[in-house]
C-alpha cells in the first residue's frame, strides 16, 4: 500500500511544469499547496467550482425578507402607530434595514460556506506531519499526487516528480 506523494518545489513555474508531467505519465495530480493564489492552478488541477455565491445570494435574500417581514408585522399588525399620518406600511423606508442586514447575512453565509466547502476549521491534518510543510505558507510550493496502487507506478511517479525538479518527495501516510 503506497500513499500519495508530496513534492516540494522552489518556484511556481517548476511546479506547474511538474503538474503537466504528472498528467502526461497518467498519474493523478490531487492538489497543490502554495503561499499565494496562483492564477490558473485551480483549472490545471480540475478543482470543482464551489456554490459559495449561490449560498450567499440565498442567505442574503432570506434574511432580508425576514427583516422586511418583521418590520411589516410589527408596524402594521402588532403595533400600529400613526406617526404624522404616514402609512403604516411605509415600505419605502422599510427597505433600508433589510438591505443592510441582508448584505451582512450574505457575507456570513459566504464565510460559513467557505469553511464548509474547504473542510475547515480542521486543526490537524496528515500533511502537517510532513517535515518542511510549514513552508507552504511562506515560500515553497507543494504538489500532492498519487499513482496507481502498485510499487512500479509509485516508483515511476517519484521519478517523474524528481526529474521535474522537486527538491524533496515525501510519502504521505494517512493516520
Amino acid at each position: 500500500m503506497t500513499g500519495p506523494l508530496l513534492a516540494e518545489f522552489r518556484d511556481p513555474e517548476t511546479m506547474l511544469h511538474a503538474i503537466g508531467a504528472v498528467k502526461r505519465h497518467r498519474h493523478r495530480a490531487i492538489d497543490a499547496f502554495t503561499p499565494y493564489p496562483i492564477e490558473g492552478l485551480a483549472e490545471e488541477l480540475d478543482v470543482a467550482a464551489s456554490p459559495i455565491r449561490i449560498i450567499m445570494l440565498a442567505g442574503g435574500l432570506l434574511v432580508a425578507a425576514f427583516a422586511f417581514g418583521l418590520q411589516w408585522y410589527s408596524a402594521v399588525i402588532d403595533y400600529p402607530l400613526n406617526s404624522g399620518g404616514r402609512p403604516l406600511n411605509s415600505w419605502q423606508v422599510f427597505v433600508l434595514v433589510p438591505f443592510e442586514v441582508g448584505i451582512f447575512a450574505a457575507a456570513l453565509f459566504g464565510v460559513i460556506a467557505l469553511l464548509r466547502s474547504c473542510g475547515l476549521p480542521r486543526l490537524h491534518h496528515p500533511l502537517f506531519e510532513v517535515p518542511g510543510f510549514e513552508r507552504a505558507t511562506q515560500d515553497r510550493y507543494f504538489l500532492l499526487s498519487s499513482s496507481e496502487d502498485n510499487e512500479q507506478a509509485a516508483r515511476d511517479l517519484r521519478d517523474v516528480l524528481q526529474s521535474a525538479g522537486a527538491v524533496v518527495v515525501t510519502e504521505v501516510r494517512q493516520p
Partner: protein
Amino acid sequence: MTAVLEQNLRPPHRWIAGTRASDVEITQAVTEPLFQPAGKAWWFALLATLPLVLWLFGSIEWLFYRGIGIWGINSTVVWGVAIANYVWWIGIGNAGTLISAMLLLTRQRWRSSINRFAEAMTLFAVAIAGVMPIIHLGRPIYAYWLAPYPNTMALWPQWRSALVWDFWAIISYLLFSILFWYVSLIPDLATMRDRTRTRAGQLLYGAFALGWRGSAAHWRRLQTLHMTMAALGVPLVCSVHSIVGLDFAASLMPGWQESIFPPYFVVGAMYSGFAMVILLAVGFRWGLDLQSIITRRHFEVMARILLMASIVMGYSYATEWLMGWYGGKQSERSLVAFEFTGSYAPLFWALLFCNVALPQALWFPRVRRSLPTLVAIAIAINIGMWLERILIVWNTLSHDYMPSLWRTFHFTFWDWSLLISPLGLFAFLFLIFVRLVPAVSMFDMRELSHREGAA
C-alpha cells in the same frame, strides 16, 4: 529593527521599491516586527496614548453620571460634538472597506500594501463611531430599546426613525467589516502559525488560522468569497454613509433637507478616510521599516485620489449654495449668508481652505511626492472634514426658522474631551494591532512581487 528588504531609490519595479522581493523576504519584512521585542518608539507611543484612553473613559463616566448638560449643547443647538464625531468617525471607518473593496474590484494591484491596515482602520473607527450616538442619548441605559426583541412592554422600535436605521447600518457594517478583514487574514495567520517559535503563539495563531493549508481548492474558494464580499461591500459602504446623510436629510430643517446629502456624505467619507490612510501609511512605513513595500508611488496615487475627492467636495459645496439661492426660500438663503458671515464664519472659511483650496497643491507632482507636505495636507483635510461635520450641525441649528431661538454653541471642557480623547483610543488600538497581526497582506504582496518579476 532591521530592514529585511533594502529600499532601492531607483527601483526597477512599479510597486515594489526593492531590486528583489522574494517570497521569503516579504514574509520576513512583514513578520519581523511581530517577533522582535517592541522598540522604544512603540512603548513611548503606547504610554502617550494611554492617558487619552483613560481620559475618554473618564469623560464618558462623568457624562453618564451628570447627563448631556455637561456639553455645550443647549435647547436650540441640540446636537453637538458627539454627532459631528459620529459622522466623522464613521466616515473614516467607511473608507477602509471602500478603498479595499473598490481597489480589489478595479484590479488595482497596489492595494496589497495598504488594504490590511486600511481595513483595520475601519474596524476601530466604526467601533468608536458606534459609541457616539449612544452617549448622545439622554438616557443611554435604554439604548438597547433600538433592538427588536420580545419584551414585556409589548413595544417595537419605530422603523421610520433615522436612529433605528443608524443602529442597523452600524451593526451590519461593523460585523461585515470584521468578516471581510478576517477572510483575507486567514492565510497570513497560517504563515504566522508556521513561523512562530513560542507554543502560545502557535496555539493562538493556529486556532485563528482554522487549519489553513493554502491548497489550490482553498485559494480558489477564498478568492471567490473575497471578490463577492468586495462587490457587496461597495454598495453597503455607500448605503451606510447615505443613511448617516439621511439623519439630516430626512428632517425639515433648512440646510439639511437636501437630496444631495447622501452622495455628498459618501464622498466626504472617502475623502477623510483616504487622508487618514495616508497618515497611517506614513506611520507604518516608518515604524515597521516597510519603505520597500509602501513606496513613494503609493503615496502619489493616493494623493491623486485626494485631489479628485477635493474637487468633488468643492462641487458639492457649490451645489448646496446654488440650490439654497435657486430654491428661493428665505430660510435657505439666509442660512447660506449665515454660513459665510455668521458666528461660525471663520470656521467655515477654514473648512473651505482645508478641504477645497489647500488640496489643489496636489496638482503639482513635487507636492505629491513629498511626504512632509502630504502629511500636512492630510492632517488639514481631516481637520477640514471635522469642521464640515460640526458646521452642518451648528449652522442649521443656530439659524433655524425662528429668529427668537437663534443661539450659538460654546465649547466646554467635556466637548474638547470627546473631540480629542477618541483619537488616543484609535492610536492605542492600532499600536496593539501592529504587535498582533501582520500589518500588510503577505500573500497579496507575494502575488504582486511575482507579477512584477521581483520575486
